[in-house]
């Protein structure tokens, strides 16, 4: 039993390393075949993977269906843009601050929202996010409807971030670090307690765990990581746009998480890749790609109701005794 588990985790580690290596050399490959354009596309994909992963931590491990994640995503982006506007372009200052701002925002919103549960939690997080959206589009000093553009990308030591390939590697490093961090968290005591709370909140409360604080901390971690993704997306397009804060953004992230696999470590990554690739491919083929996307979503969900990552895992993993994916 222990051996099987060990084999399985070793297998997973090798798969992850192979994937990481493949993604690392990807820009060189794309350059070699003359498709540099796609480096920027894959960067965007990885940033959304990071944002979806942060939401998946809240939804999948904390069991909180948050419909306002765009608020933290956008807050990170705007923090970087506003600092840039005021002459602070160092990534070492701006990105941690973006994370901090998003975390603080998550703390405030979480404190109030966690009084509610279920569908009420969905709606109250949505309401908070929408209020922040309206606040930003009415603040003319910060760009209003047009958003706030960045004069250049952030500076990070002597790394030329303006080079798309270099920026890609930085994004990849952020994503890999985040996945590693979340992997450690979910296997640590905190993560175990968190998952137990997701399964049975009242029992954990009866056992004396401060359920509310655990959930709040989970919400804040998710928000903070979304802030990092926001900082990256602002740099990617050199724009902090109010559309990052809009509720459709929260919806997109949630779709990515559910399609990828709620509560699966790589669920966010798989979901983001699926959705963005589908969008890219379908929009090449048909004018009505929105409808095609809707149908594709239906198809995916009927084939894999627990999400693609767990489905894939069950199909191709040698051991059939995988942890059952949770909703």
């Amino acid at each position: 039993m222990g051996g099987a588990l060990y084999r399985q985790s070793a297998q997973r580690r090798w798969a992850a390393l192979a994937l990481l290596a493949g993604l690392t050399v990807l820009p060189l490959l794309l350059q070699a075949v003359g498709h540099e354009f796609y480096v920027s596309f894959v960067s965007r994909l990885l940033i959304f993977a990071l944002a979806a992963t942060s939401l998946n931590f809240v939804v999948g491990f904390g069991g909180m269906i948050a419909f306002g994640h765009a608020a933290f995503f956008g807050a990170g982006a705007y923090t970087v843009a506003i600092l840039m506007e005021n002459g602070i372009s160092s990534a070492l200052v701006a990105w941690p601050l973006a994370i901090a701002v998003a975390a603080l925002l998550a703390l405030g919103i979480g404190l109030v929202s966690l009084r509610t549960r279920g569908v009420y939690f969905i709606m109250i997080t949505l309401a908070f996010a929408q209020m922040i959206y309206y606040l930003f589009i009415s603040l003319k000093a910060w760009g209003g409807d047009d958003g706030l553009s960045l004069a250049s990308r952030s500076t990070l030591g002597s790394l030329p971030l303006s080079n798309d390939a270099v920026f890609y590697w930085v994004v990849l490093a952020c994503l890999a670090a985040t996945l590693l961090l979340l992997d450690r968290i979910t296997h640590a005591r905190f993560g175990r307690v968190l998952q137990a709370i997701r399964e049975n909140e009242s029992r954990m409360e009866a056992l004396g765990y401060p359920v509310h604080s655990y959930k709040l901390l989970c919400f804040v971690i998710g928000g903070a990581l979304a802030g990092l993704a926001g900082a990256l997306i602002a740099n990617h397009g050199q724009l902090a746009s109010p559309s990052l804060l809009q509720w459709t953004q929260s919806g997109t992230l949630l779709v990515m998480v559910i399609v990828g696999g709620v509560g699966a470590l790589y669920g966010g990554v798989v979901g983001a890749a699926t959705l963005l690739l589908l969008e890219e491919v379908l929009s090449h083929f048909t004018h009505h790609w929105h409808a095609a996307l809707g149908l594709a979503l239906l198809f995916v969900v009927f084939r894999a109701p627990h999400g693609i990552a767990p489905w894939f895992h069950r199909r191709f993993s040698r051991s059939k005794k995988n942890e059952a994916p949770r909703e």
Binding site: R115, Y120, V262, H306
Partner: protein, 307 residues
């Protein structure tokens, strides 16, 4: 004073429409714990079908009352079929799946329906043919039209009819039983599939009526109108306590009133910082405050961990 009264009248009309749509959400949620995000699109299709049928019949020389009546019947039947098939195609196959999964099919269906409507009716705004000659009345400095009176009346009658159905008929009893405990209801011989289908059908008919009201009231329609209307109506259902019929009605009216009053006074309140097109903010502010103090909505009972 007259602005206040005026906005109260406008809010009541808008609120009646929200309430009609909110009932569709709350019935489905109450019975099967599912957020039917595509309900807003059903309302939109109702409006567009009415426009097509009425325009065609008026051109063919039918009298106004007959054209209007047949428009409503057509919208109701199309929406009934649509709601019924929505459940069969998008939700029933996923009955045993994780709770969040139907949300994806709902969003998928909603995208598909919007695009379908765009292909059939085009991207442009459509004007609703005028069925009723508008006459204005005045009370205490506030004006209102016969259309507004009619909307509130029809909404009141439909909601009364719904309450009769749910609390005075056998089908209604089966619905309430299924909402309380599907397993036990099944043991008592209630056919859960039939109950769920009827909830969708009834909700869609109310949605179709709401769609006709929106058309008659604003005289304009668009293939994207469903989503925002649906979101607002869903907010109303949550405000009142989801799964609760009276709550959805009260929540709808309340939301309509708050939005109308908010739109009337928002400029003064924020010193011109926010214009009346930010009236949506009020809906969300009120939602946050209500849920802070009543975490299960105004009339909601404390529920378990449903989502």
């Amino acid at each position: 004073m007259d602005i206040f009264l005026q906005q109260v009248i406008n809010g009541l009309v808008q609120g009646a429409i929200y309430a009609m749509v909110a009932l569709g959400y709350t019935m489905v949620y109450g019975i099967m714990g599912l957020i039917n995000f595509a309900h807003g699109e059903v309302v939109m299709i109702g409006t567009l079908v009415t426009i097509t049928v009425v325009t065609f019949l008026l051109k063919a020389g039918f009298p106004v009352w007959l054209a209007g009546g047949m428009g409503i019947v057509a919208a109701a039947s199309v929406c009934m079929v649509l709601g019924w098939s929505l459940e069969r195609v998008a939700y029933r196959p996923l009955r045993g799946a994780p709770r969040l999964t139907p949300l994806i099919t709902a969003i998928g269906m909603s995208i598909v329906l919007q695009n379908l409507a765009m292909m059939i009716w085009g991207r442009n705004y459509m004007t609703f043919p005028s069925l009723i000659e508008k006459t204005q009345f005045e009370i205490g400095g506030a004006a209102f039209t016969n259309v507004q009176v009619l909307i509130v009346l029809v909404a009141g009658l439909s909601m009364g009819g719904l309450l009769l159905l749910v609390y005075r008929t056998k089908l209604g009893m089966a619905m309430r039983a299924t909402a309380q405990n599907p397993g036990v209801a099944g043991l008592m011989g209630v056919n859960a599939n039939r109950v769920i289908s009827s909830a969708f059908v009834i909700g869609s008919v109310l949605g179709a009526l709401a769609g006709v009201m929106v058309g008659v009231y604003y005289e304009i329609a668009h293939y994207q109108m469903g989503f925002m209307l649906g979101l607002k109506a869903f907010t109303a259902a949550v405000l009142g306590g989801i799964g609760n019929l009276a709550g959805a009605m009260a929540g709808g009216i309340l939301l309509g009133l708050i939005e109308a009053l908010g739109a009337g006074y928002i400029g003064d309140l924020t010193g011109g910082f926010l214009g009346s097109h930010y009236q949506d903010i009020f809906a969300f502010v009120v939602l946050i405050f209500v849920l802070m103090f009543r975490p299960s909505g105004l009339f909601g009972e404390k529920t378990g961990d449903r989502a």
